[in-house]
Subunit: 327 residues, 2 copies
């Protein structure tokens, strides 16, 4: 294992300290590093809180700021945060209009956010994201996994929260965006969890894991590496088989951490062509490393069906460490 | 070699097509893909043109847009663009106030930009960046290499061009920012050039290349991997030995493409502490993958000494695919 670190037991704390120091105009650290919150509180609106295991940076702390999240709770690498973190975060950022949790569908996360919602003693609703079409259940999830589509939910719901929507309306919007969003991933290499010290899975020099999860969970099948056009075709086919054909779409090409931008843009080129061949109009685009799996080489494609409301909220200003739009 | 591509001979064209399609509000493609230019021309100002070998994305095309470059000329992977590319770009974006070339100090780049300046038949001046303190000459360079500090020059000079500074003043400013900027890199793994198909260099499972170049050129020494704190100390010591101690600084922690954001923020945490111990105040920060070496795992640290003018121009609005500030 080769990583820039001083020890597996301090990597998260030191990285979080660096993150907050680098973006002091946007974020502040919560007590005992239980959460990262906006540097400037936004009173009067519903507070959005997300979180999950670390190792997926910039998700979620990178999306704390105006127009997206109010706080994010980082667990240890690939490990759910504990309920006391979400309770402390809710205490810190709830301005009286209630709290919406945005949670990726993994057993540990769902359980701990649920426990926090019960124990926090305030009005909390939850959106659970499950956009990954690759497999129906997986190593850490009952039902589909929540992957890169989560950031689309955070962006769209975050913009609506900024406009003053009620908690119930935001919950309904989040569920609607999640239902309009589908993703699938592919890995060329494994990732290595610092505390484990060795790769999460073995993969041949000429193989790829089609449908991989963001913790290196198995996908649909292990096959020989194919040309980018064939990979994109399989992924878009799987996504479109659920979303249907035609219509306006947001296309997000997300790197898992170890894939060069040059290849991500090439995959965007292929995925866009496949969508257009099905009658889609790619009206919004995003390409980069947003929901990663440590240093895994690979990427995911996410498609969100756009209507006027979702498109408008996607375009709304956002000022976070990892995404900045219109301000 | 495992890459998302259809063939080494088409990877650049397909990736560029994806880039321009994804960012059609910011950039447009030049004829025969010789350059990428702003979607909306900016008349009346000096035109800034950069370029170089591909494989360092988002440098340079990712920095085309308001507040930074007017055009970027992409060569093949790790290969200089040819003079006809820069001549065509200058023809396209020169609004009559002259053209400034920003060129990283590699023999091929310097020669080809020089030839273009001579042949273009218009007023052109050139800033050559050479911020890498690691080695005095290298595989592809006479004198020091131009590395991640180049983006600082592009940002600061780009802002000044937007304000209407003259060509001569921009050239002087660019030289001044380059002189105030020092960088050093370290690699944990090699990168693989698509056309070569195998890693550029071999490195042991427990080794790092201290002072590596952005094409995988040798650095100062090959040593056993050390803790992040020791790595940061060596790099900041080398940088500060040239910039002196104390003063306001911009700290850029740049990933080479294969290193997770978690580790980059940890390196930021360490580098910032080392700078502060020397009396620096880290007044501006940037962390991410900006000047990469394909999928190389590693990072570079860049420090720019700030005065009021450089800080103000750094803060000025920019709207490019890879960097967005204040708009």
């Amino acid at each position: 294992m080769k990583k820039f670190m001083n020890g597996a037991e301090t990597i998260l704390a030191e990285s979080l300290d660096g993150f907050v120091a680098a973006h002091g105009d946007i974020v502040a650290m919560g007590d005992e590093r239980k959460f990262v919150r906006r540097a400037t509180p936004a009173p009067g609106k519903v507070a959005l809180i997300s979180g999950g295991g670390s190792g997926h940076e910039p998700l979620h702390a990178g999306f704390v700021g105006h127009g997206m999240l109010d706080a994010a709770c980082p667990g240890q690498v690939f490990t759910s945060p504990t309920p006391d973190q979400m309770i402390a975060a809710a205490e810190a950022v709830d301005g009286g209009a209630g709290v919406l949790f945005i949670v990726k569908n993994y057993e540990g996360d769902v359980m701990n956010f649920e426990m926090a919602a019960e124990m926090a003693g305030r009005e909390i609703m939850t959106v659970v994201t499950d956009d990954d079409v690759a497999v129906e259940t997986s190593t850490y999830s009952i039902g589909r996994r929540g992957v890169a589509g989560t950031m689309v939910v955070e962006k769209v719901v975050g913009a609506a929260a900024e406009e003053g929507l009620s908690l119930a309306d935001l919950k309904a919007l989040g569920d609607r965006v999640n239902a309009a969003t589908r993703s699938m991933g592919v890995a060329l290499t494994s990732c290595t969890v610092p505390a484990a010290g060795s790769p999460t899975f073995a993969i041949g020099d000429d193989e790829m894991e089609m449908g991989v999860g963001i913790h290196g969970e198995p996908g649909r099948r292990r096959v020989k590496l194919e040309p980018a056009a064939a990979i994109a075709e399989e992924m878009i086919t799987a996504i479109a088989s659920e979303l249907g054909d035609a219509g306006d779409a947001l296309l997000l090409v997300n790197g898992f951490g170890g894939t060069p931008l040059m290849e991500l843009y090439l995959m965007y080129h292929e995925a866009r062509a496949k969508l257009e061949a099905r009658g889609y109009r790619v009206a919004r685009s995003l390409v980069g490393n947003f929901v990663t799996s440590l240093e895994m080489a690979g990427c995911s494609l996410t498609v969100t069906r756009l209507d006027d409301e979702i498109a408008r909220l996607w375009d709304a200003p956002a000022h976070t460490a990892a995404l900045r739009l219109g301000m």
